[in-house]
């Protein structure tokens, strides 16, 4: 049991107790395979259907537009590779700050003969509209721009980008994994604006790991990634992960309820303002601060301090944060997001991400700031004492 204060909600979130309770019967006597036609199977099928309705309702989609997957990564792969497989190799645009689960399949498509164009972002992480216009002139077949970034938290003006892309008739996809439960999402409205698909994940919104969905306009023809028994209208074979999908469904209902969402947003915005006032007082640079951001995310760097070191010291002090995206936490690589924002490497090296959640309160923020202040003071001291520096660096690697 660890007692750290958890400030890493963009990596994953604690499972909501109500969600866990809803899941447990499906790990007990409601264990049937939804494809079975007997009573055990029908109970499981009904549970999957209800989960699908819940997910659809949470994002303003129709239940027939929901394809369940094993998570956000699979949803992103399914859209990009699945749509590409139905098209002649053409051009594909993805933004410069996409999650690895968009970037990597896009790279894969490039190896299969697609031309991959990277959409530039400005210093706040916002898609560069002029660059987009220039790339759209190349008649792309596929475009993928994330709704909200996992590291900086900055939100794209998706309807405007969709409007811009519409004349090309490209399929436009958005990775909405980080936006779900933090912003109101209305797929009907986005779809009307020209967005054709969204990726979602359960474990970023108080749901369980191992479930996600691709919300997709039925005009988009997809080739399945997983061939087999024909589940999910033949678009995603494999026995449905019933308990986890039940959890996903309820988590969507709870996280996306408009009242709950607006209250949560207000609370998180005020907590983050408290946090960032303290950070600025410590001399921190907050990234993408001028852009519209997710209410819970603060991505910053302290001058002269290494991000990895700060994160390790914060861990010792009892605060769990990230120095980059957990999903691509290979050591030593600077954040490609900050690179795209034009942040110089010496500043990017200091990047620390705090992502808040329902369990956090202002006392924890104050405690965090105090701990951070002590780290700044300690390291300002050791910086003046060169002999101590390598030893500390070694220790932090040892912890890794």
């Amino acid at each position: 049991m660890n007692a750290s204060v958890y400030l890493d909600h963009n990596a994953t979130t604690p499972l909501l107790p109500a969600v866990r309770d809803a899941m447990l019967p499906y790990l007990d006597d409601r264990f049937g395979n939804p494809s079975s036609r007997h009573a055990f199977g029908r109970i499981a099928r009904a549970a999957v259907d209800e989960a699908r309705q819940r997910v659809a309702a949470a994002v303003g989609a129709h239940e027939t537009e929901v394809i369940f997957t094993s998570g956000g990564t699979e949803a992103n792969n399914l859209f990009l590779k699945g749509a590409a497989a139905m098209l002649p190799a053409g051009r594909l645009i993805v933004s410069a700050i996409e999650h690895a689960s968009v970037r990597a399949p896009a790279e894969q498509l490039r190896r299969y003969g697609w031309q991959l164009d990277i959409l530039a972002v400005d210093g706040q992480g916002r898609a560069d509209r002029a660059d987009f216009q220039r790339l759209l002139a190349g008649r792309p077949a596929l475009v993928s721009v994330m709704l909200a970034n996992n590291e900086s938290g900055n939100v794209q003006d998706l309807p405007a980008l969709a409007e811009q892309a519409r004349p090309t008739r490209a399929w436009l996809h958005s990775d909405a994994v980080q936006a779900l439960g933090k912003l109101a999402i209305d797929f009907r409205a986005l779809n009307a604006a020209g967005v054709h698909a969204l990726s979602l994940s359960a474990h970023k919104i108080g749901g369980p790991k191992g479930a996600g969905a691709l919300i997709v306009d039925k005009r988009v023809e997809l080739s399945p990634l997983l061939a087999g028994g024909g589940q999910e209208r033949d678009l995603r074979s494999g026995t449905e992960n019933v308990a986890t999908l039940v959890g996903f469904g309820l988590a969507c209902t709870l996280a996306c309820d408009p009242q709950a969402l607006s209250e949560r947003t207000a609370r998180l915005v005020s907590l983050r303002a408290r946090l960032e006032a303290g950070l600025v007082a410590l001399g921190a640079t907050v990234f993408a601060a001028e852009a519209g951001r997710l209410p819970n995310t603060s991505f910053f760097a302290l001058p002269g301090l290494d991000g990895e070191t700060v994160v390790m010291q914060l861990d010792r002090a009892g605060y769990a944060v990230a120095s980059g995206a957990a999903c691509s936490a290979q050591t030593g690589r600077p954040s490609p997001v900050l690179d795209a924002l034009g942040v110089p490497p010496e500043v990017a090296r200091g990047a620390v991400r705090v992502s808040l959640g329902d369990g956090n309160d202002s006392a924890q923020i104050d405690g965090f700031l105090t701990a951070l202040q002590q780290i700044v003071a300690a390291f300002a001291h050791t910086a003046a004492c060169p002999a101590a520096k390598p030893r500390l660096a070694e220790t932090s690697r040892g912890v890794l």
């Binding site: 660890n2 990596a11 264990f31 199977g41 094993s70």
Partner: protein, 403 residues
Amino acid sequence: MKLPIYLDYSATTPVDPRVAEKMIPWLSEHFGNPASRSHPYGWEAEKAVEEARERVAALVNADAKEIVWTSGATESNNLALKGAAHFYAASKGRHILTVATEHKAVLDTVKELERQGFEATYLMPQQNGLITVEQFQAALRPDTVIASVMAVNNEIGVIQPIAELGELCRANGTLFHVDAAQAAGKMPLDLARLNVDLMSFSAHKAYGPKGIGALYVRRKPRVRLEPQMHGGGHERGLRSGTLPTHQIVGMGEAFRLAREEMGSEIERIRALRDKLLKGISDIEEVYVNGDMEQRVAHNLNVSFNFVEGESLIMAIKDIAVSSGSACTSASLEPSYVLRALGRSDELAHSSIRFTLGRFTTEEEIDYTIDLLHAKIAKLRDLSPLWEMYKEGIDLSTVQWAAH
């Protein structure tokens, strides 16, 4: 005794309560992302994932480094076949060898590869559901890049001669993939001795949770795959995506229990299965599908001639069984597995798969035997075909008129 009685363990199994108990902490306080490298929430999750990996490896005598997590056996089969076929096509060739009675996750994947320019051979099994070593050897070609044969068939439970087939593949320089979704925990599997390069596993067929599986990828000699799920580089780049800790812990515990208890469990279940077979063998015109010797202990697949399959399922609602594989049961097509064994459409349609498991009791089997006797007699009483058969008319010579 609680009704309905569950006799469909090959479709899915209940999660063993001991497994569920191990999973629950990972659905509560231990919620970290195993990929988080900067705090204890992540470290403890990663540790749990690695312990589970050891346990899955131990059941099949493999090294933990040879186990890759997937979302289930369907994904494992897709990853094994597409990943290996694409990686080795240029160096080895574009021929794939498999069997007509494989699971859809293999057959449909091979069909997809055919559309991409691979060539496939689908071996037809003998009437007992087994392929012969000679037949397999004759079909291997110098350009056979991969062969895929399931260890245990999901519908009829027959066990293919994996050890012998593996030796032939090794000698031919062909990769050998085995879908062991229905075999793990149901029969011994020793990957240190078997010449198997890739093996697919599922948790929910072995008292673990749904939504988690694994692919064994041999390291010595090293087998390489082209990843099919791209992203953050989890699973050493072979399969990206946040690892579902609770499900992985569940699979690990399920496989640990299987290793400890398989020996005695198989014998208990075999006795019950044999009792069921004996109990219904006095019913006329009952045909067992698939070999009874080379067969897992928990499976009994029988056709009740002159009984319509759907009516039978309805009549025996008190027992939950399958009239084909669960994964294809939404269609009314007769089982392609039974058709491949040379069964007529009528016999294929009237087939019932009974699969027993850890929680099956003798009382349930007794009830099932009595129920089958009563219901089959009743259905046949209503059947004109049965009446004609009893009158000695050879139905295969009857010319049916359309009207």
